[in-house]
């Protein structure tokens, strides 16, 4: 049969040979698209031990059957590759919004696989089926704004360009790919993978279509039905403030729209307003009030309060998405620094460099101005934020005064005591540039970058990024030692400076979950559930499935609804605890509760849902549709929504269970891929060794477990080092602002997390001792070929 959704062809470009070839999408059908195709390509073509910057590495610009189909939240794409920020270059993906992915579909391609390395800088031009490799020597050295603009002058105003900036060119490991000015695929340093291939940009323009298999009437009905179930960003289904039409409200909600709350910099200002008469569908089930959904999520207000609202021109976002979670701002004050007053981003994307600044006390706008300067610079240079963990390390290295106990435990020279890591490690000449004095001690000289940063002067960011980015040997850096650690991410930083690893693993201010990468909605998001999800990935967990459910109607209601789905004899999907255990609780309300099988079933469903989102591709911040704003439905969403969308677009009729099995296939392949790469590195150290995913991969940093004075673990990872944890300065071992649990303890428990892993593996069909898929599971998922490459890792 001829499916809708897919175009049928995948484009492959070998930059070493210049060969441009096509292949059939259908050979990857069981992997859908996006990361599904990405994992498969990495499995088939990239041997373990390959480094991210090797020409043999693939970088897969993935789109899926839903991409560009016109359904809500179908505008995003993913880039899959080996990740340079990871010490062992483990596989991972970065996720990009905007309209680049759909444009690739309209040009007729179900993904773009790039391999090899060009001899000199190039860019790729794709206009429908006309594909060429163009000289980029004129573009090299430019930021992403000028690069994209220059390419559009050749290709037209409606071409979409994904480009790297100076960060990617110069092989900074913290680098991302930027499209449509401010949408980024960060994903562990993917910008530098393009840079390593001498690939500056990819311009795409398409005049074709995405075909929808179902009939027009059904398609329209399904779209409006889906819209009626959608809330605001993160599928938050109740408003933030008490409103007359709403039964519930939740202060954490991103449904910020309210009377008297405006896009203040619009001309004239636009009121976001109420949603009165929300329940009554129009013909076609359109949410009410009709045509207000795009104003529900006032992220400018959510992230920056009233100053943010006042500077918001509008909410923007990805193609075909009605939610609009990107804040388009107008900050005229930026013009005095010579950068555009108009900028856009959301969440952490706005605060990469501003997080290493102090705000001006008493200035309401200072935070916003600095954040928009940060957005402007980092999108242009293509600098990746590492989900904030980078800035946390930086601030610690700049401010933490090393104690004698720490230096002893870390076997650092006694001379390090009483000074900060930056002071200890950076040459005097670099400290002089950064701080205005050769010891780097406070007070910093007012005109130095650090002096300006402490005064909240946005121009500090302009100074600093020039010191940070030139790191790849192509541009001379005035502060090479500083650049070398700061531009390459916490993992490489920790390799060179052990105190950074110590900080990440142990200290209360750490945001690192494991492997020196960031946590992303961890213990604070449903305790063990958030932790299990953060354990699974090789970068900060870009999985909001569970997180999206943490906000909404009261927890007891949500718990009941999730129990219907994942802990009941009548559960509709493949993940379930038929005994009906509780799933959702937050610590701050209930205190610590031991892990349940229901939590594990919910976690498994969240992980599988993410693989499906990244393969379809659907936005991680709008699905799952497990809740809805409709009181008439008791706030139930529709767990079949995603599978129904897939079936309607492609014509491939699947039910929920079959659909979840596809997701489990992708998750399991990703697992095997990670294990295969990790096993290579274990064997490199110890030829008779073997990776154990349960212990070597699925762990979490000690700071989430340890109490003050705990002597069972210490600065060097592993039990029994005998160094009191008190040396880390922990007082409660968990940041107070993100308290995991109230009551008897605020900590996670190691024993309970071990049990949690076992329950999760059971749901997934993975072996409880090794955390690897069993032979039977591989067979069930059509992945038996996996065993051929890693026979010793698969148990019967």
């Amino acid at each position: 049969m001829r499916y809708g959704g897919w175009t049928g062809k995948i484009l492959r470009i070998d930059l070493s040979t210049g060969a441009i070839t096509t292949e059939e999408t259908m050979k990857y059908k069981e992997y859908l698209g996006g990361t599904g195709i990405g994992w498969k390509v990495l499995w088939d073509e990239v041997p373990p031990g390959t480094k991210a910057w090797d020409p043999e590495n693939r970088i897969v610009f993935g789109v899926g059957p839903l991409t560009g189909c016109g359904a809500p939240s179908s505008g995003r794409m993913v880039v899959t590759s080996l990740m340079p920020v990871h010490i062992n270059d483990l596989p991972g993906a970065g996720h990009m919004g905007g309209a680049w992915g759909p444009e690739l579909k309209y040009a007729g391609w179900d993904s773009l696989i790039i391999q090899g390395k060009a001899a000199a800088p190039v860019w790729i031009r794709i206009v429908d089926d006309e594909v060429s490799i163009e000289d980029a020597s004129e573009l090299w050295g430019n930021g992403t704004y000028r690069t994209a603009t220059a390419i559009c002058t050749e290709m037209g105003s409606d071409a979409h360009v994904a480009a790297i900036g100076q960060a990617g060119e110069n092989l900074c490991r913290l680098s991302c790919i930027i499209s449509d000015r401010h949408h980024s695929a960060g994903g562990g340093g993917l910008g530098s993978v393009m840079g390593s291939k001498n690939l500056k940009a990819i311009g795409v323009k398409g005049t074709g279509s995405v075909r929808i298999a179902t009939d027009v009437k059904t398609w329209k009905k399904l779209n409006y039905y889906w819209l009626s179930l959608m809330g605001a960003n993160n599928n938050h289904v109740v408003p933030m403030n008490k409103q007359p039409w709403a039964e519930y409200y939740d202060s954490a909600s991103r449904w910020t729209a309210d009377r008297g709350l405006f896009w203040g910099a619009a001309s004239p200002p636009v009121e976001t307003g109420y949603c009165t008469d929300f329940e009554h569908p129009l013909p076609g089930d359109c949410p009410r009030p009709q045509n207000k959904m795009g104003r529900r999520t006032h992220k400018g207000y959510k992230d920056f309060g009233l100053p943010g609202a006042n500077h918001t021109v509008k909410m923007n976002g990805c193609l075909h998405c009605p939610v609009r979670c990107h804040i388009a701002t107008d900050v005229p004050q930026l013009e005095q620094y010579g950068v555009s007053r108009y900028n856009e981003n959301t969440c952490t994307g706005n605060t990469i460099l501003s997080s290493i600044m102090k705000t001006v006390p008493g200035s309401q706008d200072s935070n916003l101005i600095n954040s928009q300067m940060s957005t402007n610079l980092t999108s242009d240079y293509g600098f990746w934020h590492d989900y904030g963990q980078w800035a946390v390390c930086y601030n610690w290295a700049q401010s933490h005064v090393m104690s004698a106990a720490e230096c002893k435990a870390l076997m650092l020279p006694a001379s390090f005591v009483g000074k900060t890591p930056f002071q200890n490690r950076l040459p005097a000449a670099e400290l002089a540039i950064l701080s205005g004095n050769p010891t780097g001690s406070t007070p910093y000289a007012p005109a130095s970058p650090w002096g300006k940063a402490n005064a909240g002067d946005p121009s500090a960011q302009q100074d600093l990024i020039k010191l940070i980015i030139p790191n790849g040997g192509k541009i001379y850096s005035k502060t090479p030692v500083f650049a070398d650690v700061v531009a390459n991410g916490p993992a490489y930083w920790a390799e060179k400076w052990p105190e950074i690893g110590y900080f990440n693993n142990h200290c209360t201010k750490s945001l690192s979950f494991k492997m020196n990468h960031a946590k992303h909605h961890g213990a604070e998001s449903f305790g063990q559930i958030g932790c299990l999800i953060n354990m699974t990935y090789n970068r900060d967990a870009m999985n909001h499935t569970h997180q999206n459910v943490t906000v909404g109607p009261p927890l007891a209601v949500v718990n009941q609804l999730m129990k219907e789905l994942f802990a009941s004899p009548a559960a509709p999907g493949i993940f379930n605890d038929p005994n009906g255990s509780d799933i959702c609780h937050t610590s701050s309300v209930d205190g610590y509760k031991p892990v349940t099988a229901g939590m594990a079933a919910f976690t498994a469903a969240c992980m599988v849902e993410l693989e499906l989102k990244n393969a379809m591709i659907s936005c991680d911040w709008t699905l799952p549709a497990w809740l809805s704003p409709l009181k008439s439905r008791g706030y139930r969403g529709d767990i079949n929504m995603h599978a129904d969308l897939y079936a309607a677009v492609t014509g491939d009729k699947v039910d929920l269970k079959q659909f979840q099995l596809i997701g489990l296939r992708l998750l399991t392949l990703f697992r095997a891929l990670t294990a295969r790469h990790m096993d290579y590195h274990v064997k490199k150290e110890n030829p008779t060794g073997q990776v154990n995913m349960r212990h070597d991969h699925d762990y979490m940093n000690d700071w989430m477990f340890d109490k003050v004075g705990d002597t069972t673990t210490g600065p060097v990872r592993g039990p029994g080092t005998g160094i009191p944890n008190a040396v880390s300065g922990n007082t409660d071992a968990y940041p107070a602002k993100e308290v995991a649990f109230q009551g008897t303890t605020q900590l996670m428990s190691r024993e309970d997390m071990e049990k949690a892993k076992e329950l999760l593996y059971e749901q997934l069909g993975w072996d409880r001792e090794t955390g690897m898929p069993t032979e039977a599971t591989l067979k069930k998922l059509g992945l038996s070929y996996v065993k051929g490459k890693i026979p010793a890792l698969i148990v019967a």
Binding site: P268, K292, G294, N316, H320, P322
Partner: protein
């Protein structure tokens, strides 16, 4: 940058008398540069040469070209537009059952990054669109009053005013896919489904969805409205200059002469 919302005339769209039409045409002629090809009729930017006949034109049977004004129109408000292009998705999704922005009858894609002005190296940070000040301008069909540029330019008489709302609509049975109307619309509001003169290529333009526009219902920001028709052709600058090669056929010219 503060800009007022687009001024929109609220004039009711009553039918014009032939005298008014002549006035209108002359007003157009005086307002806009247009092309008078010697010895032939040609389309101007939004106007038509009505003077002089040619041997080519003489003797052709006149084609009925006068059409009543449309009753409604879709109007965009750039201040409210979030650039999501759900309107485009609705336009092709709920008609053709495909997603295909290149033939959407409401056009946002081409303005979303660099505004109506289009891309240029200098000044992109201050222009319209996502690379500038975020102002997104939605291009919609003006449902032009007589003389309707696309309708008159069509050599196959394939564009007609269709009840119930008198939208200017392509009759796909008559359309040959020559693409002349694409060039003749001063606002570039017509698309071809394939290459010009290609097999099966058809022109496609806004039909107002018979008075129930899908794009308006789909817009999540209330940035499109369906309202009573008014003549915006004089207030909205044209997007393209109609090339001299676009000429009225003899049958159309004969018809013009009947009134003017």
């Amino acid at each position: 940058m503060k800009e007022p919302r687009d001024a929109v005339s609220e004039d009711p769209g009553k039918e014009a008398s032939s005298g008014e039409i002549a006035d209108l045409i002359h007003k157009y002629i005086s307002r806009r540069d247009f092309l008078i090809a010697t010895g032939a009729f040609s389309l101007g930017v939004t106007a038509f040469c009505i003077m002089g006949g040619t041997s080519a034109a003489a003797g052709a049977a006149p084609r009925k070209i006068y059409v009543a004004n449309a009753l409604g129109m879709v109007v965009g408000d750039p201040t409210l537009c979030t650039g999501c292009r759900r309107c485009e998705a609705a336009c092709t999704g709920y008609h053709e059952g495909i997603a295909r922005p290149s033939i959407s009858r409401v056009k946002v894609a081409r303005n979303v990054q660099f505004g109506v002005e289009g891309v240029r190296m200098n000044g992109y940070q201050t222009g319209n669109g996502d690379f500038g000040n975020f102002r997104t301008i939605q291009d919609t069909c003006r449902q032009c009053p007589h003389p309707v540029p696309c309708q008159l330019a069509c050599p196959h008489d394939a564009i007609e005013a269709l009840a119930p709302v008198n939208a200017r609509v392509v009759d796909v049975k008559k359309c040959e896919g020559c693409g002349i109307c694409v060039q003749a619309c001063p606002w570039g509001m017509i698309s071809l489904t394939g290459p010009a003169n290609g097999k099966g290529s058809k022109a496609t333009k806004c039909t107002l969805c018979n008075g129930n526009p899908e794009c308006v219902q789909a817009c999540p920001s209330g940035a499109l409205t369906y309202r009573k028709w008014s003549d915006l052709t004089k207030t909205i600058p044209p997007r393209q200059t109609v090339p001299a090669s676009v000429r009225l056929t003899a049958a159309v010219a004969e018809s013009c002469k009947e009134c003017h």
